[in-house]
């Protein structure tokens, strides 16, 4: 490759930013179509009930109301869900959580729709509900679905755990709890839908996966996917939460039934009440080790509350179980993960996807192990660290790009730099340092994934990339542009991304699972290389030389002092443009259903973090003072976007650690930003230092791999370890709210 390093690794500014800071970027609620009407979703107030009847007669008489649509109005499939489609779009028969949708009201104005919604009379027969996952597993518990309350059971088995635990010098055992949290993207869900004159339908959507929106709408309407077109509008955050297009389906149904363009957008409270959450877990872990701190065995039971529907619960639980050993080698493994149904708000994908939970539990025990065997927390991790010879929990040996030990050393330096500050805690504060580590497979782990890119070079040297991985603000567009620019020897300003329209961009699966750089970055690289090869071959023929000796720079193919412009070259060979398509699919093998063993992913990314915290003795309030994140990106493509991702992920992790918890009392009882507390400018540390480690992944584009979720995965663990160190009591439950920490300080047995 001639140009490696010219563009890769450079802090190139993203192109979407000027429009965003000027208020000119268009999000879905900024869109108004002529004749557009509005839909409001009527939701169940009961966690579990039979819908006996729905009487819309009064609502229909309300001025401006056009339709009240229920399950009976859905022409095709009445089910939705990211992986498993088990949630009715509109419940016709039974509601399974307080927030389940039963009807959608369409009216000329939002206000009329809202007023009319209050006049729809639903006759419910309230049924017994089960709200706790452990109770839901007991015999005789009310059933959420006919097949029982265990939605999935995923296992990992290796070696003889019982024997290893029996022989272990040290055995640690604890139960840990994590909470349900909300994505809290600043832009609530929304969509606009319009029927086109040829009988298809177009959706404008706030989404992480336009092709999924297309699939779900086409199933619901019984339309071929080719007749559904989805435009992703600028999307105000996703974090895993915009993968189930419920608002999109409601807007499409209204447009379909009334013939009018329709907008459905959620209010903030509705978004928190009805959208899926991060799975809360109850985790029982048992860890066996030698007296030198070498891990021998882990036994784990993980119960994830998936709420009323499973859609991603199976995959989330699988992710936790396959990562149960974290970034360590543990010879014997026995892990059982359950996704359990309850009559609560469903849980699904959220940045981290099953890792933050297990990282919190495992890293807490690693710290306890360090104390028990008298080692520094970093040292005990070092003794068990994965490298390129040792297998992960699924038995996969990662042959390259495992810089975990180097990262631990860097984190040790960061933690050491915090140490002089320990003695400087002001009166009334207790200060502590904690570390947290994690690893994660890049891309989905239950099934293979594929990304496809179409790269087109025009005679003027400009390039388009069609690839359906949408940018949610994390900067994937500029990453893909940099990859193509590097290969094709053009400036990134000459590159246009086409990601956000299902009519032009191929389906690349969702923007999730930290997969975009690794999968789509590779697909773009491969397609761009094909284009480059074709151009150089044509030019080689014309110039009478070996294509290998040619360079492609700024729209000119150069050979020694001679050159030929792309315009001339294309003209001579009657090309209007040169297009190539390429796919990338990492090599994986499916996991064995009995043992969970297999090579689950093309590559893994590691994280090592350190936190310095203060705990207020009077109030129990925790403040993170300093934070150091060491990140493993394979190879850095763009330092600005990477650092932005890291800091944002750490901030979100601090919310998970300290304040955020969706509370359920029947339905969600804290559906506002006044009661659901995301971090503000006062909650973040003064400095979040970011260190990037580059250990190229041979199968990644220019050595790069994904890392987005790793920025958040170990934050809860690092902060919990710091708090535990500060107060001298092991924290076993997130979030570490002031009340809880206060209680631990003053009645440690609580």
């Amino acid at each position: 490759m001639n140009h490696v390093g010219k563009i890769i690794g450079k802090p190139i500014l993203r192109k979407d930013a000027p429009g965003k800071v000027a208020g000119e970027a268009r999000y879905v609620d900024d869109l108004a179509l002529p004749g557009m009407i509005y839909g409001k979703v009527l939701r169940s107030p009961h966690p579990h009930a039979r819908v006996r009847s729905i009487d819309a007669s009064r609502a229909l008489k309300h001025p401006g109301v056009l339709a009240v649509l229920t399950a009976q109005d859905i022409p095709g499939a009445n089910s939705i869900g990211a992986i498993i489609k088990d949630q009715p779009i509109l419940c016709g028969d039974v509601v399974r959580f307080a927030g389940d949708a039963v009807a959608v009201v369409a009216a000329e104005t939002e206000r009329a729709a809202e007023e009319a919604m209050a006049q729809v009379v639903v006759n419910y027969e309230v049924l017994p509900a089960v709200m706790d996952p452990l109770k839901a597993m007991e015999p005789g518990a009310p059933s959420v679905h006919p097949a029982g309350n265990i939605g999935t059971h995923f296992k990992a088995r290796r070696g003889d755990v019982q024997a290893a635990l029996r022989d272990a010098a040290v055995v640690l055992e604890r139960r840990f709890f994590t909470q349900r949290i909300e994505h809290a993207y600043m832009e609530p869900e929304g969509a606009v839908a319009a029927v086109d004159p040829q009988g298809g339908i177009t959706i404008w959507s706030s989404t992480q996966y336009p092709h999924r929106d297309r699939e779900e709408v086409s199933r619901m309407l019984g339309l071929p996917q080719s007749r559904v077109r989805v435009h992703q509008m600028t999307t105000g955050g996703g974090f895993g939460g915009k993968l189930t297009p419920h608002a999109q389906c409601c807007a499409a149904l209204i447009a379909w039934k009334t013939g009018r363009p329709a907008k459905v957008k959620y209010q903030r409270d509705e978004s928190i009440i009805a959208s899926h959450k991060r799975h809360p877990y109850v985790m029982d872990l048992k860890l066996g080790a030698t007296k030198e701190g070498k891990l021998l065995a882990i036994e784990a039971t993980l119960v994830g509350d998936t709420g009323a529907y499973l859609y991603e619960g199976r995959a989330v639980i699988t992710k936790s179980v396959t990562h149960v050993t974290g970034p360590y080698y543990i010879p014997s493994v026995k892990a059982d993960g359950y996704a359990v149904f309850t009559h609560t708000v469903p849980c699904g994908a959220m940045r981290g996807y099953g890792i933050p939970q297990i990282a919190f539990a495992l890293e807490s025990l690693m710290d306890e192990l360090a104390t028990r065997v008298g080692l520094d927390p970093i040292e005990v991790r070092m003794r068990n660290a994965l490298d390129t010879t040792l297998p992960t929990a699924t038995g996969q040996v990662l042959h390259a790009s495992v810089p975990f030990k180097e990262m631990l050393q860097r984190t040790k330096r960061a933690a050491d730099s915090f140490k002089p500050l320990l003695a400087k805690a002001p009166k009334g504060k207790r200060r502590g340092i904690g570390v947290g580590c994690s690893t994660r497979s890049i891309g989905s782990i239950r099934k293979s994934s594929r990304s496809t890119a179409i790269v087109t070079l025009s005679p003027d040297g400009s390039v388009t990339i069609a690839c359906g991985h949408v940018d949610l603000g994390q900067g994937s567009d500029i990453m893909m542009a940099q990859v193509a620019a590097e290969v094709l020897g053009v400036d990134v300003d000459r590159i246009q991304l086409l990601t956000n329209d299902t009519a032009v961009a191929p389906d690349c699966e969702s923007t999730s699972a930290s997969r975009v750089t690794y999968l789509s970055g590779n697909a773009v690289r491969l397609a761009a290389e094909k284009v480059r090869r074709q151009v150089l071959e044509l030019a080689g023929r014309d110039l009478g030389c070996d294509p290998e000796d040619l360079r492609l720079v700024d729209g000119v193919v150069a050979y020694r002092e001679r050159g030929i412009t792309l315009a001339d070259l294309f003209n001579r060979h009657v090309y209007h443009e040169i297009t190539a398509v390429a796919d990338f699919m990492p090599e994986t093998e499916p996991l064995d259903p009995e043992t969970g063993q297999g090579s689950a992913a093309g590559t893994y990314s590691f994280s090592t973090h350190a936190a310095l915290v203060d705990v207020d003795e009077g109030t129990g309030q925790v403040q993170v003072l300093r934070y150091a994140a060491v990140c493993d990106v394979g190879r850095l493509i763009n330092p600005i976007t990477v650092e932005g991702q890291v800091r944002g992920g750490v901030m979100m992790g601090i919310g998970y650690a300290l304040t955020e918890e969706v509370k359920v009392n029947g339905g969600v009882s804290n559906p506002s930003f006044a009661t659901y507390l995301v971090p503000t400018s006062f909650d973040v540390p003064e400095e979040i230092s970011v260190e990037i480690v580059e250990d190229p992944e041979p199968t990644g584009p220019f050595g790069a791999k994904g890392f987005a979720e790793g920025t958040l995965d170990p934050v809860g663990a690092a902060v919990a370890n710091a708090v535990s160190a500060a107060i001298g009591v092991r924290v076993v439950r997130l979030p570490m709210t002031s009340e809880r920490v206060h209680a631990l300080l003053h009645e440690p047995s609580s």
Binding site: V21, G23, G236, G473, G644, G648, E687
Partner: protein, 160 residues
């Protein structure tokens, strides 16, 4: 309810005289009556700051102000601060410091920062933290945002 009244308001230097429903918020008035959709709505309960505008020299959550209360007022929205083609130093600083990701919070955040720097061109780190305490961002981080604001303050002072 639902009475209409004329609202005469100076927005970004131009006077608008438009009827509004009496219980309509200023945020909705800007967005849906005037089509000035740069001002965002993230909660409509005064808890996120996405809808921040400057009204008579003060940063306010426009979702908590009624349009009729803005009668006679001077209002600055994100559209009045700069455009993508002619960025204000604050907007440029947000880009340069990586303080924008999904961008949904950015208009409100920048308006809040503008209001601060208008009042206190020398705003210190603590003033900045306070000024944006009511503006939530879920993607980027407040450290980058605060640095961007401080850097813009410097540029603005140097330009005076």
């Amino acid at each position: 309810m639902n009475q209409r009244r004329n609202v005469r308001v100076n927005i970004n230097g131009a006077v608008h005289d438009v009827p509004a429903v009496t219980n309509e918020t200023l945020a909705d008035f800007l967005r849906y009556r005037l089509g000035m959709v740069g001002t965002k709505k993230g909660c409509e309960t005064g808890d996120c700051g996405a809808c921040t505008v400057i009204m008579n020299g003060k940063a306010v959550n426009s979702c908590l102000v009624l349009a009729v209360e803005a009668d006679g007022a001077n209002v600055t929205t994100i559209e009045g601060i700069g455009s993508a083609g002619r960025l204000h130093p604050l907007q440029q600083a947000f880009i340069d410091h990586g303080a924008v990701q999904c961008g949904f919070c950015s208009p409100g955040m920048i308006v809040a920062a503008k209001s601060l720097l208008d009042d206190e061109p020398e705003a210190a780190a603590e003033d900045i933290r306070l000024a944006i305490a009511g503006n939530l961002c879920r993607c980027a981080d407040y450290v980058a945002i605060a640095k961007a604001i401080a850097a813009a303050g410097k540029v603005l002072r140097a330009g005076k």
